[in-house]
């Protein structure tokens, strides 16, 4: 087909993909972020590897018709998802984040289990949403994650509301919400961010500049160069960091989270990264030059870079990393085997839970014939 040969204008090919762009910080002193311990470094690596392996398994299942509906990978974005979430306080009723479709890593960090993800994708009766919602659209407010709905931007005002309760109750808790470059064009992004900003809510917004909203490049999405510039329009301090540098993302988010927790209002962290797969599994990304993808894969994979830093900095050894790889592989296999043959939800379970009262929707008359 002709359209497969369509090429981008040169302007949309990212220029500096090999060298990570320098992080920019807002002016003024900010407390240094404590360095990560060896255990923490290993733990981050575990989540990175888990995210990727789990998604690879999901792709296989998708192609084996086990996964129903769409599959949206976060290949290339695992670093920023994991690193940003890792900067939050995790645990029971601590910080809360709202992931987008490519923030599986952030959910795993907050305690979502691989088996839950697999069950969601396979529409199993035992899935967290009992088969009602797709992929990562589920939540556990106590563990600290609130899944999105498909209408982009909507989670900003919702998370603002959650952050509002933290403020009203004087809890030292922070909300964190992700938004893609495309999502920043929506009305609810604008309204949510403005609301949060003027209310000085403890909310950190992670703007994921991954270069693509489906097939739409940034120059067709907005007229600014960086998402951080938009934040300024709301009176929100913003930084831009290399989204594929786990350490940079962690530090920037940690600073932002700390400031938010200290009552400094909304903080915006733009992470520059790249979406290396199509919008979803059914999109072959023909509109992205193959060499661009190859270069990001070869030279700027967040997990490879992180592992390299660990090794070269003598922070974590190769054997440890391989052990984690293997452990993750087994974990994903076990989770898959545990739920693969579970049943789908029984038909009649579709009716309860629309309201508290009445407890179930009517079963329509013709079903009884």
């Amino acid at each position: 087909m002709d359209s497969r040969a369509a090429r981008l204008t040169p302007a949309s090919v990212p220029s500096s993909i090999a060298a990570p762009s320098p992080a920019t910080r807002p002016g003024g002193a900010s407390p240094a972020v404590a360095p990560l311990s060896r255990d923490q470094l290993r733990e981050i690596y575990y989540y990175l590897r888990l995210t990727r392996t789990l998604e690879e398994r999901l792709v296989a299942l998708y192609r084996q018709t086990k996964v129903i509906g769409g599959l949206f990978r976060s290949l290339g974005q695992e670093g920023e998802s994991v690193a940003s979430a890792y900067a939050l306080e995790r645990g029971h009723n601590k910080d809360i984040l709202s992931p987008l479709i490519r923030n599986l890593g952030s959910m795993l960090v907050m305690g979502a289990q691989p088996i839950e993800i697999l069950r969601q994708y396979m529409a199993k009766a035992e899935s967290p949403t009992r088969g009602r919602e797709l992929n990562v659209h589920f939540n556990d407010l106590e563990k600290g994650y609130l899944g999105q709905i498909s209408h982009l931007g909507d989670m900003i005002p919702v998370m603002a509301g959650i952050a509002l309760t933290f403020k009203l109750r004087r809890e030292p808790r922070v909300g964190l919400v992700y938004i893609g470059d495309g999502g920043t064009s929506t009305g609810t992004f604008h309204e949510g961010l403005n609301f949060a900003a003027v209310q000085r809510l403890p909310l950190v917004v992670i703007g994921e500049y991954n270069h693509w909203a489906y097939s739409t490049p940034p120059e067709k999405q907005f007229a600014v160069k960086d998402l951080a510039e938009k934040a300024k329009g709301y009176g929100v301090p913003a930084v831009t960091v290399d989204g594929n540098d786990v350490f940079a993302v962690y530090e920037a988010t940690r600073s932002a989270v700390d400031r938010a927790r200290r009552g400094k209002g909304v903080q915006f962290v733009e992470v520059k990264t790249y979406r290396r797969k199509g919008h979803a599994e059914h999109d072959d990304q023909h509109y992205v030059p193959k060499d661009v993808l190859e270069r990001w894969s070869r030279e700027n994979d967040p997990i490879d870079r992180y592992a390299q830093r660990l090794r070269s900095g003598d922070l974590v050894g190769d054997a440890d990393l391989k052990e984690i790889d293997e452990r993750v592989r087994v974990e994903v296999d076990q989770a898959t085997d545990a739920c693969m043959n579970e049943p789908l939800p029984a038909a009649e379970t579709a009716l309860p839970g629309v309201y508290v009262n009445p407890p179930a929707a009517d079963r329509l008359w013709f079903k009884a014939l």
Binding site: A60, Q64, T65, G69, D283, D284, M340, L344, W365, A368
Partner: protein, 456 residues
């Protein structure tokens, strides 16, 4: 060893089919779990499809280049029988087939004669299922509390009511095969086709035997003759006439009435009545006179049932109306409770609705006495046939000016021009004796001849 099916995946919501572009393994090859097995191409994307389990490729069902709907079986793997990786989870119900008629699946419960649409939730639902359609008696709509099924059996649906009105059929007399035993369109049309006896109200369809249609003898037409098959209403009428004469012992009494006073009262009141939208006719006075006197002479307001006489509680006077397409008898209910104005108005209304086919079944039921009035071009007198199951019918002859002998108070006799009309009452001599009939008619005559002006 276990069998694992490999299906054509759905790569995108609207994708309905995929082409198997290349096999990466051949039959007999062993495959690892998630190892690429074959390649597909769809409208949106090409992809490598990984094996769902470790094992051997046992069968290939779809060849390279073949395009099949999603969820089609593409290959079969033989796996080592480990519990975990054995059979695939129940595949989602195939939703993707192009719409073609599915083979009709047998429903477990056998078809019921009446449908049972009951649902649990307290929400608007179709009426509860009834047992086998039981034929209820026709007095179902008397009294306050009526169930939905009762209403359905007596009133059916708008369409059936419309057909019933058009054909003067009593819905309650027709066996119903529909839901809750109601009369369906097919039931009533079938009933009308078979055309049993006249639309009479009353309890069971019994003797005088309207159940069976009457066979009229056939006659050979001669060349040039025009044979016109009867309309339903003609058939009903014809059968009724024959039956009535067979059943009742018809006798007639003739009373000549001086309508001069009525004519004067009518002339005086006509304008006032017209201003109130009512056309005041001689018939109204006659109906009024009868209504007053039927209470006093109950034997004339009765019915015969087997070896009993039924004395009707109500006085409902039917007025025969001749329409282009046949005879119909709408009924003035409770005529004895109406003033002259009310009776005149009722006559107007019923006549209008009869002509425009807007009578409801209720309008033509439960008459207790009938008056037939041919009007201006009618005969001097006629001998009408009783409207079953009543016991009397009053015919009104032409009302016109005739010479009459008048006796003055002092006994002097003279001949005057008076407005006269002959009333003929046919009655059933099984229960109405001559004296009964004559007493009734005498009272009617007297009332007409001395009609109080205050009652106009």
């Amino acid at each position: 060893m276990a069998r694992v099916d490999v299906l054509m995946p759905q790569m995108g919501e609207s994708i309905a089919e995929g082409t198997l572009s290349k096999w990466l393994k051949k039959v007999g090859d062993s495959v690892k779990r998630d190892e690429p097995l074959f390649e597909i191409s769809t409208d949106k994307v090409d992809a490598e499809i990984p094996a769902p389990a470790a094992g051997t490729l046992a069968e290939i069902k779809v060849q390279e280049g073949q395009t099949v709907p999603v969820q089609t079986l593409v290959a079969v793997l033989e796996t080592d029988a480990s519990a975990a990786a054995s059979k695939p989870a129940p595949a989602p119900a195939p939703a993707a087939a192009a719409p073609k008629p599915e083979p009709s699946k047998a429903e477990p419960p056998p078809p019921k004669p009446t449908p049972q649409p009951r649902a649990q939730a307290p929400s608007p639902q179709p009426p509860a299922p009834a047992p086998a359609p039981a034929m209820k008696t026709a007095d179902g709509d008397g009294g306050g509390v009526q169930t939905a099924e009762q209403r359905l059996r007596t009133k059916s649906t708008p369409l059936v009511r419309k057909i019933a009105a058009e054909h003067s059929v009593d819905i309650t007399r027709i066996p119903g095969s529909g839901y809750a035993g109601r009369v369906t369109k097919q039931d009533i049309l079938g009933y009308i086709e078979r055309a049993p006896a006249a639309p009479t109200p009353g309890p069971r369809p019994q003797a005088p035997g309207p159940g069976a249609a009457i066979d009229h003898p056939t006659v050979e037409p001669w060349p040039g003759d025009r044979v016109e098959p009867w309309s339903k209403i003609r058939k009903i009428t014809a059968d009724h006439m024959v039956m009535s004469r067979r059943v009742s012992a018809h006798v007639a009494s003739f009373f000549e009435v001086d309508f001069t006073r009525i004519a004067q009262l009518r002339a005086k009141a006509k304008q006032t009545y017209a201003e109130r939208g009512v056309n005041l006719t001689f018939l109204a006075f006659i109906v009024k006179a009868c209504a007053e006197n039927l209470r006093k002479h109950p034997i004339v307001n009765a019915a015969v049932s087997g070896d009993s006489t039924i004395y009707r509680a109500e006085v409902n006077i039917g007025i025969a109306v001749a329409l282009d397409w046949g005879l119909i008898v709408p009924v003035i209910k409770h005529a004895d409770e109406l003033a002259l104005m009310g009776i005149a108005r009722a006559i107007n209304d019923l006549g209008e609705r009869a002509r425009t086919k807007k009578l409801s079944p209720d309008d033509i039921q439960r008459g207790t006495f009938t008056i037939t009035n041919p009007g201006g071009f009618g005969p001097f007198a006629g001998i009408p046939i009783i409207n079953q199951p009543q016991v009397a019918i009053l015919g009104v002859g032409a009302i016109e000016k005739r010479p009459k002998v008048l006796t003055a108070d002092d006994g002097a006799e003279s001949i005057a021009i008076r407005t006269m009309g002959m009333l003929t009452m046919s009655y059933d001599h099984r229960v109405v004796d001559g004296a009964d009939a004559d007493r009734f008619l005498a009272d009617v005559k007297n009332l007409l001849q001395e009609f109080p002006e205050g009652a106009v």
